[in-house]
């Protein structure tokens, strides 16, 4: 199913990527090329086939319920976490005003 420029703009909006009209026009062709090509998957008979969920059989583990068991992924790392934030303020992530 071919997509049009309105759909391209809709996808870009869902993906939170700003695009210009010229970019939307260019992407319409590119995305249709790729989507047209992947549509050949429709010809595969998948009756009774389960979609893959784990490429190598593995059990999902639970870790022991201990606070800060791993200091790297535990708590009390505020300054490390904020070190790469573009606009940290007062020990928080800063964002533009969201409530009037």
């Amino acid at each position: 199913m071919a997509i049009d420029q309105a759909t391209v703009r809709k996808i870009a909006s869902l993906a939170r990527i700003a695009i210009s009209d010229a970019e939307a026009a260019a992407m319409e062709g590119e995305l249709n090329g790729i989507l047209g090509w992947v549509e050949q998957l429709g010809e595969v008979d998948v009756t009774g086939v389960e979609p893959m969920t784990a490429v190598i059989p593995n059990k999902l583990r639970l870790r022991d319920d201990i606070v800060d068991a791993d200091p790297l992924t535990g708590g009390n790392r505020r300054d490390d976490i904020l070190a790469n934030a573009p606009a940290p303020q007062h020990g928080f992530f800063g964002v533009p005003k969201v409530i009037e």
């Binding site: 989507l35 090509w37 533009p96």
Partner: protein, 493 residues
């Protein structure tokens, strides 16, 4: 004395241990090569001081009798691995200036083993690409040139193109790579080196910038099979911080290397014989079959009937996972922020992502967003995951009658920069032989096997059963010993 930068990982390790040279001499020699190879653009950040510090520690450890497995070996680190205190960008504008406050599990293991870091290696942006032309920090150039008198710049492959170019040019004896759909194997083939993608889950993904989590797998790239085995031993291992990490002991792959393939059966997938493929590729493949027979293996034809659907399935699954993984780049927590005058939160997200992602990354996020969107999810994503099940089943059935599979790594030798950038689909086709093993999570490696008529390297791929890296390495070694591949790029940079 042999030039230190011509030594392999094993030779550096053993020579250092024996007192033939100091680790500092080795680090200085490689640092000098790195500094003199700006024309290749293989590194995004050079870290000579890190290499020297590790070398000094290695020399001290030798004096104290406390040598580590890789003491004295300097390596290159793909700039997809987070390194504490050293910029990590995934070759993107989005992460330009991002300096992690933690270390990836794989890189930490290598430092703990005694390695030093020569620098962070360039790659395709977020590991999306097959030619290293999508990096925000410029193309990596292959040290190889066609023997046609021209000076056309060739692609080093991708996404681990900085790694492949640097190893082939003797800027480092080994490097880390990551492979989502061929990103270790195809660049290794393009530059006449070796590389192995282990079974999915062998190497921890913790601290590796995520692309497609069900496919991403780290692995080593080096000049020969032994070095790949040594490096992999020091990269692999269970990590509780990665939910898909395999809780298995790391085998001693190096000690068990054996090129005697008596009693082994090698499968040749008939679906990999592509019509109209470069005759040099088929000739190399036939020569590889003869080499494995010579090593004692029995050779049989096998069938992997869903091969032609692997690439389209990959180009649904990988972008779908990427669109989800890359949602984290929002201009709030780390990385770039683009806040147009008067913009609100939503506009900031959109502006930041428009500015921070390159065209190929945007393309894949868009594809992924589309195939996961309401109304299309089942037709695209669920169908692709079902086809993925069938592809894995193909391999399972094939391995009932063989131990390893032999195929070309890529459908061509290295192409010129710019030759395929205009057509995303033509670029994707580069990974036609590499993607099936990725979708099935299987170990696979590329070893250099021949030069084509233009004097460019070609690689053979060995695919093994899950967890059987040893079988893959052994078949690779059998080819390496017989191919006698000693060609190297003539220095022009």
């Amino acid at each position: 004395m042999t030039e230190l930068t011509n030594l392999t990982v094993a030779q550096i390790r053993d020579g250092h241990r024996a007192g033939d040279f100091s680790a500092v001499e080795v680090a200085e020699a490689f640092n000098a090569n790195v500094a003199g190879a700006k024309a290749l653009n293989a590194f995004i950040v050079e870290t000579p001081e890190h290499a020297i510090a590790a070398a000094k520690a290695a020399d001290a450890d030798r004096a104290a009798g406390t040598l580590k497995p890789l003491s004295g070996v300097p390596i290159g680190m793909k700039d997809l691995f987070c390194t504490n205190g050293v910029q990590t960008t995934a070759a993107s504008h989005m992460l330009e200036g991002f300096v992690p406050r933690y270390e990836s599990t794989v890189s930490q293991k290598l430092w703990d083993a005694g390695c030093g870091m020569l620098g962070k290696l360039n790659l395709d942006q977020f590991a999306m690409g097959s030619s290293n032309e999508t990096s925000y920090f410029g193309n990596v150039i292959s040290p190889w040139r066609r023997k046609d008198g021209g000076n056309a710049a060739l692609a080093p492959g991708g996404s681990s193109g900085g790694s492949s170019s640097a190893i082939a040019a003797r800027l480092c004896p080994a490097a880390t790579g990551t492979d989502t759909g061929g990103s270790i194997r195809q660049p290794a083939a393009f530059t006449g080196i070796s590389g192995i993608k282990p079974t999915y889950g062998r190497c921890s993904r913790w601290g590796i910038v995520a692309f497609a989590s069900s496919l991403d797998q780290a692995g080593p790239m080096a000049r020969d099979v032994r070095d790949c085995a040594i490096m992999l031993e020091n990269m692999a291992g269970f990590d509780p911080k990665d939910a898909t990490s395999l809780d298995l002991a790391v085998p001693n792959w190096e000690a068990a290397l054996s090129s005697d393939l008596k009693g082994k059966t090698v499968g040749i997938p008939k679906e990999y014989r592509l019509e109209g493929i470069d005759p040099d590729i088929d000739a190399m493949w036939d020569a590889g079959i003869a080499m494995l027979k010579d090593a004692g293996a029995n050779v049989v034809e096998i069938s992997l009937p869903h091969t032609k659907y692997a690439l389209p399935a990959y180009y649904i699954i990988a972008p779908a996972e990427a669109s989800s993984n890359l949602a984290r780049y929002d201009g709030v927590r780390y990385g770039l922020r683009d806040l147009p005058q008067g913009a609100g939160l939503q506009d900031m997200y959109a502006a930041t992502r428009a500015d921070g992602f390159g065209p190929e990354v945007k393309r894949r996020i868009m594809i992924g967003t589309y195939v996961l969107s309401a109304g299309f999810y089942d037709a695209y994503y669920t169908q692709a995951q079902k086809v993925r099940t069938l592809i894995a089943r193909d391999f399972e059935q094939a391995f009932a009658s063989c131990d390893v599979i032999l195929a070309p790594t890529a459908p061509s030798a290295a192409f010129g920069l710019g030759e395929k950038m205009a057509d995303p689909l033509a670029m994707y086709l580069n990974d036609v032989f590499a993607v099936p093993a990725s979708l099935a999570g299987l170990p696979a490696m590329s070893v250099p096997a021949a030069l084509n008529r233009e004097g460019l390297p070609l690689g053979l791929q060995i695919i093994g059963k899950a967890f059987d890296e040893q079988g893959v390495l052994n078949a690779g070694l059998a080819i390496e010993e017989r191919a006698g591949f000693t060609a190297r790029a003539e220095k022009w940079w």
